[in-house]
């Protein structure tokens, strides 16, 4: 087992853990945390894959992709948190309610 493979597998496990918590927990902050952990898992896999080149230099394209991904992730996180705060302010809950509009 090589070092990049180790990190790639860690990435996969992080993705799985994040998805599980995303589905299982109801608090919005936890869900957003879980999405961030999943995202980190995908990024880790991507960069680990880039380090499997035959020479000493890694492939820079996945690095650029992950940088883009990190910025997208923080944007999405901020929007999600602002929405969560607004929901809390309007309806006093920190979870998603299951009310279908009738």
């Amino acid at each position: 087992m090589t070092i990049p493979l180790l990190y790639a597998l860690v990435g996969v496990v992080l993705l799985g853990m994040g998805l599980y918590s995303l589905v299982m927990y109801s608090h919005l902050v936890r869900k957003i945390l879980a999405l961030n952990v999943s995202g980190a898992g995908v990024f880790l896999f991507l960069v680990a894959a880039a380090d499997r080149t035959s020479g000493p230099l890694p492939d820079p394209v996945p690095h650029a992709m992950v940088l883009t991904g990190i910025v997208v992730a923080v944007s999405a996180t901020a929007l999600a948190l602002a929405l969560a705060c607004r929901i809390h302010q309007v309806s006093g809950t920190t979870q998603l309610t299951d009310n279908e509009p009738d």
């Binding site: 998805l19 896999f45 883009t68 999405a76 929405l83 509009p101 009738d102």
Partner: protein, 485 residues
Amino acid sequence: MSLIDFLRPMNLPAWIISLPLLAAVVTVVLPRTSRWVGIFIAIIIPLVVVKLCIEILDQGTLQMQVGGWQAPLGIQLYADGLSTAMLAISAIVLGCSTFYARSYFTGKAALRSFWPLWMFLWAALNALFLSADIFNLYVTLELLGLSAVALVALSQTADALSAAMRYLLVSLTGSLSYLMGVALLYAANGTLSLKMLATTAPASPSLSTAFALMAAGLIMKSALFPMHFWLPPAHANAPAPVSAVLSALVVKASFYILMRLWMMIFEPSINPSAAQLIGILGAFAIIWGSVQALLAKRLKLLVAYSTVAQIGYLFLIFPLSSTPQTAQTAWQGGFYFVFSHACAKAAVFLAAGTVIYVFGHDRIDKLHGIVRRMPVSMFAFALAGVSLIGLPPSGGFIAKWLYLNAALTSGQWWWCIIIILGGLLATAYIFRFFSRAFSYLPEVAEGRPAPKIMEWTALGLALCAIFLGLTAPTVTQLLNAGKPF
């Protein structure tokens, strides 16, 4: 430098993406100009898209190497008949909805955030349809998803905020799943270009897993049964022009990506039972969505569930195109669905928005005889209903006819039953509303008058849905330009 030089055919895709983005910046920096900027974009983009349509009909395809770098190093913008047709339908729907929104939001402070978000949404759609790079598609998907979520939240009611949050979580999970697929494809093939993947990607475990991940993510985003749960609250609680665009275009965008990926990369090497499975989900969506629409108590919710049902039809493409003889008919039928549903559903949502504007609510059992208050809107609703049901001569009819053709030719008669049953159910839920709206009562509920522009834009879109049926040869010619598949 002459104007001709400005609009060299090669540059058209870049303009189509850049103009709404520029408009978004301007509306952020100079909010006072935003209404005029919005109108400017709503006029100029359709014009540029028409120019692009002419070019595509003439030349087949247009390709631009962004930055001058060839694939796989750079990103390609690529326009063929299919992407141009998607751009055109977006231009029609967004153009009409922009004019509608201008009246709908009058005097509301939400307008300040509305315009930048709206421009970002438009730019994201255009960029998505023109992209030929799987990672670039991810970025456009995020741009699209975030702007759509923020637009849903604009109503600021508890229901809308909750719906927006659910939509955001689903959308982000979908993108993440898609991104993992991109990562796998890149790790295995060393390229992000759609074209290169189409020719080089060999069948392998990583290809199957990548397909599963990307399909799951995109299915979530396009709300195919059973991942549809987020759609009805989001589309029913958003402001009307937003609902129209979400139902008409945004869910279709992820379907479009899935279709491209399937036809170009995955179809040859993925087990065909995957297509059948997606088809079965589509069938469930048609039945489930229609039944829920029949039971809905609010008009916008009825329309939203109708979208769930109509999305089911789109995904029937996968099983129907599985034999070489029917592939062509099936995908054309599927995209005919996309176009006619886009126009019809946008018209219906706009009309429903006018109902709320006039009466302040949309409870179906309290909308007796409203046709007398808003005849134009109800006429638009009726015309769009014709297309949703699939009666001739509408675009919806052409779509269903192509589908039935493909189903019978490929010997998969069971899909015919679903298609016909779906049509019957659509008739039922639409007439359930009509029987009230068109009923004659001596006194009609009081309401404020609707601005003319709101009524006529809905009618314009409904007429488009009908005309799509009358102009089938031209549309198919455009779709086939450049032989997308």
